[in-house]
Amino acid sequence: MDVAIFWAPAVLAVVSGAMVFRFDSMARATFSLLTSLLCVGGLVVLLGLDYLGIVIVLMMTIEMAIMAVFMVMYMMNPAGFMPMTMMHNKKGAAVVCVLLFLLLSAGILLAPWPARRGKAPADPTMELGMSLMGPQMLTMMTLGMALFATIVATVVLATRRGRYDRLGDDLRARRADDPVRGGVGR
């Protein structure tokens, strides 16, 4: 039973991952990627990390839904259901990837992996929380800052109006030319 529980998501993850780049439409590719990443979440749960596995499943479901919206926005055909081929250097990339897989497989199969050390905690989620709020606090703070920086960067990149629009070509306008009044000092 355990073997089936492993092989089903494992094979599905790799096959649907490969199908992402075989499907003719971006919409199908998105759902194929979603299937692959859901299987990764399932395998993580199988490894005993229930919380992280479920987080991956939830996050990927929402992420792929957002990705589908962006496809509708940017694709040359509505929702990306029309056939398309948008690839370059297929042969070279295939050779690189096959060689890398063979190299990684050789390393995986030949490396003298260390024996299992220690026992899994009764509650891995509790262990993760205690670690992030204790010895790994710096990691948590760095992640927090990275997320904050991402929010600022995405807004700056995605917004239509830049500082030259607001403060003029020489950036010397005394008051910013904003469509809506407000902000600091006004």
Binding site: G17, V20, L37, G48, Y74, N89, K90, I108, R116, T139
Partner: protein, 101 residues
């Protein structure tokens, strides 16, 4: 099931993702390749935690890092696509070749 089997699946996912990242012309599809690669990294980290050092919480922290990287990559990627599309009306990597200059 063994450590090697899980790692082989992770390696396969990483290589399939790399193929996508190297071949795709659409930036959104390229990002899908990166997501698959990070999926492989997550599975590899979870395998290492389970089979090598289950008592160490750092393995789980590494997965949190990879999951966060996935979210950041997607957010920044879409913002870059939006900026590119707004200025040039393109969503293909080949048409944005001048960015490397």
């Amino acid at each position: 099931m063994s450590l090697e089997l899980f790692l082989l699946v992770a390696a396969a996912l990483f290589c399939v993702g790399l193929f996508g990242a190297l071949t795709q012309q659409s930036i959104v599809m390229l990002m899908m390749g990166l997501e698959l690669m990070l999926g492989g990294v997550i599975l590899g980290a979870a395998t290492a935690w389970h089979y090598i050092a289950p008592a160490a919480a750092e393995g789980q922290v590494l997965i949190v890092l990879a999951v966060t990287a996935m979210a950041l990559e997607m957010a920044i990627g879409f913002a870059v696509v939006t900026a590119l599309f707004r200025s040039r009306e393109i969503d293909m990597t080949d048409m944005a070749a001048e960015l490397k200059e």
